[in-house]
Amino acid sequence: MITLSQILAWISQLDAVYTENKAYLTELDSAIGDADHGINMARGFSAARKALEESPPADIGAALKAVSMTLIKTVGGASGPLYGTVFLKASVTCMGQETIDEEGLERLFSEGFRGVQQRGKAQVGDKTMIDAWDPAVTALKEARSSGGGVAAMLQAAAAAAEAGRDATVPLVARKGRASYLGERSKGHQDPGATSTALLFAAARDTLS
């Protein structure tokens, strides 16, 4: 069972993690983008945490919805609408719920993933955050179908997201700003896939 306070801890943790990795993510974005991904993520999640503190949400759905709205309003760039969509679609799966179980956890992440996929129209292999999302959600589902609990699911998802992140290095980008680089995007790790891996790692550490 995941509780509302765990969800709040997750968002707090994301604020801390993105603030800590601000320079690192921005550095990655310098190489194949416009040097703002870390700044964008840190701005968004610190605003999200503040929003949740200022008007504490009644349930998990409301919390995720508030995060979504804050990200959409404060992040901008590609990652704002993309992560905003993740949390918006996720929130719909658990409106009014104060806890979620394994099934709810799977729905939360798979709906979030479906949202970002539809919104950004990227495929696996395009060198975007999708390269971390896709294996993470697959691993999460597999862990559950082979009888794992929340901890096992998130453990598997986080590991898969990290592997997906690493797999972006040799790819040629076909979506987002990095795609302008063509062949020159090879050899660089995608910033969005990196922030997605951090998102799953924080989920593992706070929701298990």
Binding site: I39, I72, K73, S179, Y180, L181, R184
Partner: protein, 333 residues
């Protein structure tokens, strides 16, 4: 990092304050959400024209708000698309019932955020048309990329389409004209030095003493190739060829051109580059009817320049000559 700022987090907001104080006759600034709007908005019986994008490209877009050009502009964080709430509020502020055109540069972030904003506006009963500018010949346009970037043609579009709206054309006419401008406009840029995003604190990329980046984007995104320093003549030959052969422009064509500084390029060099561009156009039988030479769509303090060419007809030239009264462009008033 050496910049004339107080703190990286406050740059955009504090700059907006200065802009508002300096141009009170032309524009007003709303701070939350942030947008710059014509002092006399909404203008009755006129299609609204708004644009927006990351900050750091000044005078674009805020410097093009005013009579005969934009009704409003939404500034994002530096090099980061603004957010849908800004665009929604700006759209409402300029809407007089004739619909509103959104001029969007083709970056994933800008496109996604303007899409959300258009949905929100339409839900409130405001008719919105969005036109995406994708004119940068430096990057490949294919199904397998995010498409071409939107750069210099945006400035020419904002002038021409702004004049069309001022003349009372309908939303559909204005949007069609904008699409035509986009279809007939091409740009390419290059950089001698990087820019530094204030909150990043260090240059986005490093170029050696003899190196340049050809085909640079306006956010410091790398372009076609990193190569050795060339003369102004060689650069304009190369970039002129890339642009003029892309549409392609033919002998006998008329064009409006822009030789644009990236922010850190002295004007003495921009004029020298313009002389080279005249030469290249002439050799191809292309006539430059109108031109801008200066800093119009910049990348913070980057040294470098871009060339934009827009194949134009008489209507476009007339709209170009129409009065404009903005912080960044002013004539006929």
């Amino acid at each position: 990092m050496k910049k004339l700022i107080n703190s990286p987090d406050d740059v955009v907001q504090e700059s907006l304050r200065g802009m508002e104080a300096a141009h009170a006759d032309i524009l007003k600034v709303n701070y939350d959400p942030a947008y710059i709007v014509r002092a006399d908005a909404p203008v009755k019986n006129k299609v609204g024209v708004i644009s927006g994008g990351g900050s750091g490209h000044e005078p674009m877009h805020g410097g093009f708000v005013g009579r005969g050009m934009l009704d409003a502009a939404c500034p994002g964080a530096v090099f980061t698309s603004p957010t849908p709430d800004q665009m929604e509020e700006a759209t409402k502020a300029v809407s007089s019932g004739q619909g509103v055109l959104h001029i969007v540069k083709n970056y994933t972030g800008d496109v996604l955020n303007f899409e959300t904003a258009a949905d929100l506006c339409q839900a409130e009963g405001i008719e919105v048309e969005a036109v995406v500018v994708d004119d940068d010949v430096a990057v490949k346009d294919s199904l397998y990329t995010a498409g071409r970037r939107g750069v210099g043609t945006t400035v020419l579009m904002e002038k021409i389409v702004g004049a069309a709206a001022e003349r009372g054309m309908s939303l559909k006419e204005v949007a069609d004209l904008a699409r035509k401008v986009n279809a007939q406009g091409r740009s390419m840029g290059m950089a001698l030095t990087s820019c530094t995003v204030p909150s990043a604190g260090k240059p986005t990329f490093e170029l050696g003493e003899g190196e340049i980046e050809l085909g640079i984007g306006i956010h410091g995104e790398p372009g076609r190739e990193r190569t050795a320093l060339k003369t102004a003549r060689e650069l304009v030959d190369y970039m002129g060829e890339a642009i003029f052969s892309d549409l392609p422009y033919k002998s006998g064509d008329d064009v409006i051109v822009m030789v644009n500084g990236m922010g850190g390029t002295p004007l003495i060099e921009l004029y020298l580059l313009y002389a080279e561009l005249e030469r290249v156009a002439k050799a191809r039988g292309i006539t430059i009817k109108r031109r801008l030479v200066g800093n119009y769509i910049t990348s913070l303090e980057m040294q470098g320049f871009s060339i934009t060419a827009l194949k134009c007809d008489d209507q476009m030239v007339q709209l170009w000559d129409d009065p404009v009264h903005t912080a960044g462009l002013r004539w006929g008033v």
